[in-house]
Symmetry: C2
Subunit: 143 residues, 2 copies
């Protein structure tokens, strides 16, 4: 495990895992998981194993990734890459190209094996860095 | 020495704006926007003005922030800070304390004035750095 002295308040992301997926080609990847993302493994760094405690199969989570192949200088895009549609600001689209290429993926946990979490419906390509996992929010009374 | 879980690969977030809010005290902040977050302004860097094009009042968005006061070394917490509840891994909670303290807030756009976006239901404190805005996903047919 890497120890980083004096960087506690740095605004640098830490890669806590990687996506392992049959998807390797960005151009073939569906644009959102509910349009056909395959099952995939989230392979976490053993250093964050404790953070996975009580993660249960069947739960819905928000997976945050760093879309490392994105263009961070892009501010406007044709939605869904369709040149026939007028350009929009990236903050009104889910384009991976944006100042901070953080992917937000709602996926279902299928199984947990140590620090490997199997999920369904993930459109991120193989090797995508993982930043965070959060429970999908349920109504207040259930939290 | 503080030891941070996860590797650094040189991915640095870019602060594209700041939250301007009457909330200044973290301990008084509601834990989620739907538990009573006030209205707030998202004050964007003019350098990313183009990314806001077509952002419309009335739209629901996912706001991503960097929770700069969080403890990035925390891996387990008592949910909702309640010492009577058993500890859980932070990936099963919405605790701000986690390896990458990225806040995920679903808010409604009330109005847009240049690079200032007025939103409702935001629980982030004044000065919180903004990383990204994404449209909240509607059913596929509506996109």
């Amino acid at each position: 495990m890497t120890c980083l002295a004096g960087r506690v308040d740095g605004y640098e992301v830490r890669i806590v895992g990687r996506v392992s997926s049959p998807l390797t080609d960005l151009s073939a990847a569906p644009r959102q998981g509910d349009e056909g993302g395959p099952e995939a493994d989230l392979v976490f760094d053993p250093a964050v194993a404790e953070a996975l405690r009580e993660l249960a199969p069947g739960s819905e989570v928000e997976l945050l990734t760093w879309l490392h192949k994105a263009d961070r200088t892009t501010l406007v895009v044709h939605p869904r890459g369709d040149a026939d549609r007028p350009e929009q600001g990236v903050f009104t689209t889910r384009s991976p190209d944006r100042p901070n290429p953080i992917g937000l993926h709602r996926v279902a946990v299928v199984s947990v094996d140590g620090t490997t979490v199997h999920v369904s419906g993930l459109e991120a390509v193989d090797g995508t860095p993982i930043l965070d996992v959060k429970p999908a929010l349920e109504p207040v009374a259930d939290r």
